[in-house]
Structure formats: C-alpha cells, structure tokens
Symmetry: C2
Subunit: 174 residues, 2 copies
C-alpha cells in the first residue's frame, strides 16, 4: 500500500469514537464524531492553496484528503463541526515517506508541515514538530471497514496527551 | 531491542489508564489501574508451570513477565485485582519473533499459546487465536516512562472491541 492507496481507502463515511488520556492529570475524556472523508485531486483548489501557504511547489502534490467532522465530547452537549485538509507531497525515490501538509479548518490557524511514513505493516505514521509541540500519530486499518488511530502529543515539559480513535465505515460515499 | 530487553523495560510500578471502544454498540468505557510488573527468571516456578500446562519444553523459556494489577472501571466502584503471567519462548534463528504463553490469574481459565513479533520500530505485537477469539495487541514505549498498548478483539461475527492503555511509570521497583 502506498500513501495514495491509504488515502483512497480512508474515503467514505465513518463513525468515530475518540478517547484522550491526559497523562499528567490522570483524566480521560471521550467523544463521538461522524466523519466524511474525501479525496482531493492534486489540482484541487484546497490542495493548491495549502501548498502555496506552506511554500511548497503545488506540482509536487500527490493528492489531498479532506475530513469533515461533526461531533461532540461527552462533557459538552454542544455539537462541533470542522474540517481538516492533508496534502501528501511526492519525493523522488522515496515511495513510502514524504512531506505532509496539514490545515485545520480554522482560517486563523497556520498550516503545519510534517512528515509521513508508511511502514511495512501498512500503518501510516504522521509526525509534526511545530513551535515546541511534537505530535506523532499512527493510523492503520484492521480491515477495510475499521480504521484505528493513536496519537501522542509532546510539549515543552514532556508527553501530555495520548488519544485513540476507533472508526467504523458507515458508507462508501457522502 | 529484543523481547528480553522489552520485558525488562516494562518492569516497575505503573499507573494505567484504559479505554475500551465497543464497536457494534458505539459505547466506550474507561478505567484506571495500578500495575506492578516483575521479570520472572526462566526457571521460576510460574514460568515452569505455565510451560508444562501448554505442553512446551520449559528449558526453551527465555523469561517471564508477571503483571499484578489493582484497579476499577468508571462504572463499577468495586476495585478488582488480578495478575497475568507471560512467558516468551526462544526460537532458533528467530530473535524477533516467537511463541508467547499467557496465563490470566484465574485458575479455571486455560492458558493461551500465542505469537509475538518485535518490529523494527521496537513495537511488540502479540497475537492470540483461540477458540474463535482472535486478539491482536501492540505495545510500545513512547519513552522509557510511557508505555502505550492498543488491542483489538475479533470474534466469530467480526471485530467487537478495541482498547487503548496509556501507562506512566511511577517507580522502578515494587
């Protein structure tokens, strides 16, 4: 599996259960979301715009992935919505690792330039290191209809939060 | 890192936060435990006994790991205690994969013979396939003092539960 196939397998409607463990406070919080994940062509406006914002040549974009989510945390009755765009950048002779651009759907938030690596076990590792915040995520498919994601957040004073998402495919398209 | 080093790094006192996602019911449950993890020599009584129960030559045991836990789930005020013994079996010319024996501390429960694999990324994968129940676990150290574990349970009708533990080292010994 390469990054294009991984992103394509991610497309569809998903139900996501998320739990975060706050390590120092020894507290957990849980939430649920509905996700719609769509593939973006390398020439799509969102892809070109994100490349430009990151100072990356847009012709090196392999593809993008847009995740639109709607959900709530257990402690907060208000439903929240948002979207995230990822863009994978081709690197010559490096089919399984490369640069990954990420834009959370908040215009005021600067996009982040990170790295991805697709392992021999077909798990995708995403790493960002930005302004003293380091994140390491691992995404993998237990089956085509069950995607799992773990993530770890490290700040200046050490690891602060770990999270885990279990995502069940609810449909192929929108 | 080999399995002996992985087990040795696991020894000590840990605080564990656990979350299980029940996939079909779209429900989560959380809990907390204190763990004491000790290394068992290959000639320790618990190791020899577990090898014998599994019909495995006890002289092939590399080492054992005993985890004693005390904790509670959020929905249940009663504290529960228990222990688990793991024994890694040496396999000629296979330093990074092998057989793993597991005994939960319930005498009536039969021990389980599974497999382990230590990846190039130093994560330990544990697989058991026993009476139509398949489990796949991944254990890894984010740092020497932060151990993470994900697990996935598959039954006859498909994947049923995923779990995630974040474990913080609270001390080196008992």
């Amino acid at each position: 599996m390469d990054i294009v196939e991984f992103f394509e397998l991610s497309c569809g409607k998903w139900f996501s259960q998320r739990t975060s463990h706050h390590l120092a406070f020894q507290k957990a919080e849980a939430g649920k979301s509905d996700l719609i994940i769509e593939k973006l062509d390398p020439t799509a406006a969102d892809v070109v715009k994100l490349c430009e914002q990151c100072g990356v040549d847009a012709t090196t974009a392999l593809l993008g992935l847009k995740t639109t989510w709607s959900g709530a945390m257990d402690w907060d009755p208000n439903k929240r919505e948002g979207s995230t765009v990822l863009v994978a950048i081709a690197e010559p002779d490096q089919p399984h690792t490369g640069t990954l651009l990420r834009q959370h759907g908040i215009v005021s938030e600067a996009p982040i330039v990170g790295r991805y690596a697709l392992g021999a076990d077909e798990a995708l590792t995403l790493i960002t290191d930005h302004e003293s915040i380091y994140t390491e995520e691992r995404w993998w498919f237990a089956s085509p209809n069950l995607r799992l994601r773990s993530s770890l957040l490290k700040q200046a004073d050490g690891y602060s939060t770990s999270s885990f998402c279990s995502e069940i495919r609810m449909g192929l398209g929108k």
